[in-house]
Amino acid sequence: MLFTVLSGLITSSLIVPFGRFLKTKWGFILAFLPILLFLYYIKLVIPISQGSYFVQSTTWVPSLGINLDFKLDGLSLLFTLLITGIGACIFFYANAYLKGHKYIDRFFGYLCLFMSAMLGLVLSDNMLLLFIFWELTSISSFFLIGFNNDNADSRKSAMTALSITGLGGFFLLAGFILMGNIAGTYNITELMGKVALIQQHPLFPLIFGLVALGAITKSAQFPFHFWLPGAMKAPTPVSAYLHSATMVKAGIYLLARFSPILGGNPIWTYSLMIIGGITMLYAAFHSLFRTDLKGVLAYSTISALGILVFLLGLGSKEAVIAASVFILVHALYKAALFLITGIIDHETGTRDLTVLRGLRKVLAPVAIAGFLAALSSAGIPLTFGFIGKDLIYDATLQSDSQLFFYLTAAAVLTNIFLVSAGFMAGIKPFAGKLPEQFAHVHLPYKSMWIPPLLLAVLGVIFGCIPGLIGDWIAGPTANSILAQQEVFHLKIWHGFNLILLLSAITIVVGTLVFISNKPSVKKLAWIATFDKISPEHIIKVCVQEIVLFSAFFTNKMHNGYLRSYLLKIILFAELLIGYQLYLGGPLHIKWETLSPVSFYEVTTVCILIGAIVLTIRTSSRLTAVVATSVVGYAICLIFVFYSAPDLAMTQFTIDTLTVVLFVLVLFKLPSFLNLANRRTIIRDAVVAIIFGSMLSMVALRVLHEPTTTNISKFYGDYAYVLAKGKNVVNVLLVDFRGFDTMFEIVVLSIAALGVYSLLKLRLKSSDKE
């Protein structure tokens, strides 16, 4: 399994040196990678359907609990098949779609990366590993949405998508870490055994909220749905692959994967049902007003994702099997519809539903594919969509007795809109009379129209053999979501019952809506008037406000005056130190431990203070420099008094050299100008005195802390025994802490080189002049 995950990453990096190869006619060979992976996984269908699963584990960062744990069960298998199967279609399709594009190598690099990340995501059995792949999918999606990076809209959409999904990923990580800390493990299989521990923990609502936020941002649920229509700026194969079939289902996958762990309680059920319910209705309704084909598909995708979240929230046996089937149903027909849209866009140059008509005459196989996909999406009997919708109605009808009516009504209403949306995307462009302007349109490469046709036909075939799909794929998936072993039988015909009636109503009303609803620019404009209260607008306004505020704040704080920065830093430091001093209580001075004062020392300190005052007060530079050096020499004397001969010598020599330096450079400069007014001087003086007195208090406090002398004692005891030196300071420098000294002389050398180059550089530039 690890290899299948890595294969895409490896391919992706191989594209860097061999990318040019993709631009030749042999480029389609790359599509054999997903095909091989698909074949690898399809042969695991039978063992998985018999209830076994595969585990592979490699240690990576054991200390943090991050291991390369992979597990393949029913749920993972469904997703791996979708990723690799639809991936194969997309690879073929994109190769033709982007033929001759300048950056086709880049495109496939991202696509391979994405495929790997997605495979890793659905195979991970470790939460942190899952998170890494989760973020990888966000990043590759960012690159793919912004693939046409010369387009400002494209870039903006990519940023929106990245910020929304990235934000969600951040929440997800927090939720995972909380969960991992509570359970003591990051392994998902192990977590299944600690359900009670997690669910009874007081932080459980927070954990659930964080994980759910991750899922609903990724799966474009209300109110974070708006990044998905924006993401339609990506090339159509990307929309088909990432933004309908796989990546946006990662959130669904996450919820499904964690439903045995976090599910089965009211918080889970109601929040997911409400979010899913709002999303499915809201998006399905919106899809009626789009004139852009991709817009219709984007909103119907959001709606379908809403249905899935809704079903997972419901969490009953029927709901889960319905979700498992619907994932597959939706992936098949929606990917097909997207690919068809891509063909139409590619050949006619427009996606405007108000213009497109009668294309069946020029794009016959595509029209067949569109027709079949639309039928499946509408849930006409004998298509896979019919099975899916049946199961959804079954799930809502059998739910909680008080709510079942409302739930069913919501599901029916959503499906009515979706029928219309499916017809709009799959039938409308092909029906009617072919306008003059599209007469020259011709069929594209085979590798472009075969994939959607294949997917659409599969939708019908699966619809005819639901039993097989139920036993092999949907059943095991539902079992892994429910964490139990059940037997599911999917049937085409249930007899005449309420479900069938609902299905019939859905189809009829949906068709009526489709016929009566003519997408027009006017309606689009009408719905756009509600944009002001849409979540997208609200979030955008918030972001704008934050940007404005930070600009204001930055301009205020970073005004370009060094002293104002310093003043702020110092004031803040004073605040912190002051607070800490206040916490420490009153100061005590232990007089008996203090050392006696002698005349010399007092004199020295007096000279010192005098020199400091002179440094501040003088208006002559030279006096200031000399006064500073007097400070240095006086400190040197203090070192002499208090048994630090090495320090005294160093201080003395350094001080001498510093004065020499200053004199060499500064003797030509004019005397100080008094630039500050009285008020500033007083303000600065007050700040400075406060800081100084605080530091004094800190020193006093520390003075009476009991000092631990273990380290000093160690050095004292071993200086001669181990390092054969008697001057402990020197032994410290060259032996015990030799590394520090080494780096210190390196730093000194860098300073010298800096000085040298600064001045030499100057000489050179003046030579030029």
């Binding site: 330096l661 100080f672 600065d684």
Partner: protein, 118 residues
């Protein structure tokens, strides 16, 4: 004596802070030097100052038999002094270059250097 040193630390810090809040670059530099000195003494003080007992083992001994000054702060300060020389010299040269380019010592004039000066 500790109290005097404590007072001295306060004065050194206050003076240093006051100087770095000035507009003149030279004063800024002097302020940094004073702050450095203040910090050195602070560290020195924390190691419990002892008079006349340098951390040097006697000629015939292998370990200390008496109280002695703490060698660790001394080693730290020694390093700090030498490094501060590197810092000061680099800063001085920087200052010199800025002065040569702009003809001013005023930090406020550094905000918008003319294109050709850079």
């Amino acid at each position: 004596m500790e109290l005097i040193l404590v007072l001295l630390i306060g004065i050194l810090y206050a003076a240093g802070i006051y100087l770095i809040l000035r507009r003149s670059m030279v004063k800024l530099l002097l302020g940094i030097m004073l702050l450095g000195n203040g910090t050195n003494i602070l560290i020195f003080l924390l190691g419990n100052i002892v008079k006349g007992k340098p951390p040097i083992i006697g000629p015939d001994l292998k370990v200390f038999t008496d109280i002695y000054a703490d060698p660790i702060p001394q080693a730290l300060i020694l390093t700090a002094i030498v490094i501060s020389f590197g810092l000061t010299s680099f800063a001085i040269v920087l200052l010199k270059r800025v002065y040569a380019l702009l003809g001013t010592d005023d930090l406020d004039n550094l905000n918008t250097p003319e294109e050709e000066d850079i």
